[in-house]
């Protein structure tokens, strides 16, 4: 194991902003800030429950624009995918199916669910962290790609 590119302060600050955003969504709208659940609800629209989901996702993208516009992200123009198109398609499909079947993603289970001490979220978080770690191990060290 070699430790690389450790950026503890930006990680903590970014994490705190994410936690603050999740707390605000609960305090204001009474909703869990689970990105897959919020986005999924747009694809399966229920009357009167679509507007805030759309504006939240727009907000995410606006946040990305704002970050680039403020010039905070030195070299953000270089941020690119690390895999080819077929793997991107496969990865996207798996993330969509997995978060739907498993009722949540990194934010909904890992940040909000654990904060509510939900046993389902604890099991989900441990499972996807393990599964993702094993996947990277297999891709990088067994198949020797990337």
């Amino acid at each position: 194991m070699t430790i690389v590119n450790f950026t503890p302060w930006s990680a903590l600050l970014g994490g705190a902003l994410i936690g603050l955003a999740a707390a605000l969504l609960l305090a204001l709208n009474g909703r869990i800030a689970g990105i897959s659940g919020i986005a999924g609800g747009i694809l399966d629209p229920q009357r009167g429950d679509v507007g805030w989901r759309v504006t939240f996702v727009l907000g995410l993208v606006l946040g990305g624009f704002l970050y680039q516009w403020l010039g905070l992200g030195v070299g953000v123009g270089h941020i690119a995918a690390v895999v080819d198109t077929p793997q991107l398609v496969l990865a996207g499909l798996l993330v969509g199916v997995g978060t739907t079947v498993g009722s949540g993603c990194t934010s909904g289970h890992g940040i909000c669910g654990l904060a509510r001490r939900s046993p389902r979220s604890l099991v989900a978080t441990v499972t996807f962290m393990l599964s993702a770690t094993i996947t990277v191990f297999v891709v990088r060290h067994v198949l020797g790609e990337q």
Binding site: G30, W52, F56, L62, Y67, V83, G92, V95, R116, S131
Partner: protein, 138 residues
């Protein structure tokens, strides 16, 4: 009133969430994959992203839920399921494989639409198709 106030609040919260993901560098899939590569070139940063987010939210959540209702609605809408079932494990396993393969979970993926890049559009399209199909058929 609620018709306007909730979407506006969600917009502002979304901006803050997206900014947080950018500051934390979770929008860089190379960094995410290095975080998951414990046995190779390990970048522990993202553990602090989750830890920081969880710490703030774990302090705030019980205080917020003590109130009778959120500011802009008449009740909290929390997940009602509490039982650990096979779906939560199977779904987590499938999601983990996808996350490990490309380094994108849903939040950073959607926030990265701001890069207006063909690769991002590809993975977001596949993610939406996967979500739609699973909601319909699984």
């Amino acid at each position: 009133m609620r018709f306007y106030s909730q979407p506006l609040a969600a917009l502002l919260v979304g901006v803050l969430f997206g900014l947080g993901l950018c500051v934390a560098q979770m929008i860089d899939p190379a960094k995410v994959v290095n975080f998951l590569d414990i046995f190779g070139t390990w970048d522990p940063s993202l553990a602090l992203v989750m830890g920081g987010g969880l710490a703030v939210n774990a302090l705030a959540t019980p205080l917020i839920l003590k109130r009778p209702h959120p500011l802009l609605d008449n009740r909290f809408r929390l997940p009602t399921l509490t039982k650990v079932d096979p779906r939560i494990v199977i779904g987590g396993m499938i999601f983990g494989v996808g996350w490990g393969l490309a380094g994108y979970c849903p939040g950073p993926m959607l926030t990265s639409l701001s890069f207006v890049d063909a690769d991002i559009l590809t993975i977001v399209a596949a993610y939406l198709i996967g979500t739609f199909a699973a909601r319909r058929f699984l």
